[in-house]
Amino acid sequence: MGWLKLQYFLLVFFASLGILQAVFSWRKLRGLQFFGQRIAAYLFAAATVIGSFVWFYGAGNRNTLPVLEGSQQTSMFMAATAAAVVFTVLLSSAINASRLPRTGSGTKCGNGLDDLRHTTYLRCLAATLAKVANRARSRERHGA
């Protein structure tokens, strides 16, 4: 059963990676893309989605017991997609660190996903955390 859970996790993880790259390329969220070219992103998406399903169904007969219950599928699906998102933001930030220029006086972020058209995820997250920390310090100063 543990092996089936892992296989399901890997199916969803790799399929999600492909889906994310296709969507980010389509919506021009350059900070989250692995590839500069749209065609490369779509080919990657096709390869990962089709490849993961072919592997999963080739690895065993999925119409016999044991099977994953609905609640198990839900939790494994959420874990796998979350892992795919984390992997994507880390790898894309590394790939795009030199590809995407920093803006003039630090990175300005505050528009959710739209910020990632022109900067990397980690730069944006750092800018957001700095903003939150500044706000907390300023509240402390005014409170004191």
Partner: protein
Amino acid sequence: MVLSLDERLYLWINGLSGWGPLDRVMAFLVNDYFVPVCLSLVLFAMWFSGDGAERRRELQCAVLRSMAGIGIASIVVKVSNLLFYRARPFTYLEANLLFYPPHDSSFPSNSAAIAFAAAFGIWLGHRKTGMVALVVAAMYGFSRVYSGIHFPLDIAGGVAYGLAATLAAYVIFKALPVLPGAVIRLMRTLHLA
């Protein structure tokens, strides 16, 4: 034995099985993973799609509503199974089984309820994608009868439960917009919405 219309329709549909290529297609569709994973991946893609912040927010609300609908459908089916039990068709009718024989209540079809809750939720967010999702969910429901594990009425029940769950989620989210709003605001702060 006098058979009901439901039982006769089941025997007719299950009787279509036996032709190799179609059996292989139905055996692929009927399994517990392919259609649920595909519909869930569509919802996952929808979260990040949307041209512009406003359209993206609409789609994200549709995704959250769909997830709520799936949860409601699951709970309602579980409660229904505690109150009412219908034996699976292969327990007393001649059946050609293409799937492992489950023994929980046949009515309603949990798989159909979940698939249609997801598909109706997708349709509310994006009509064209939703139409495709509904066709896939319908094929999934058909494959469950073709493969011998459900009566047609079980699938119809699943469709009704899925639709009702989607409508319930729609009403709840309309009455409490703060719920999806809070989730989207948090994800936006993390630059994931």
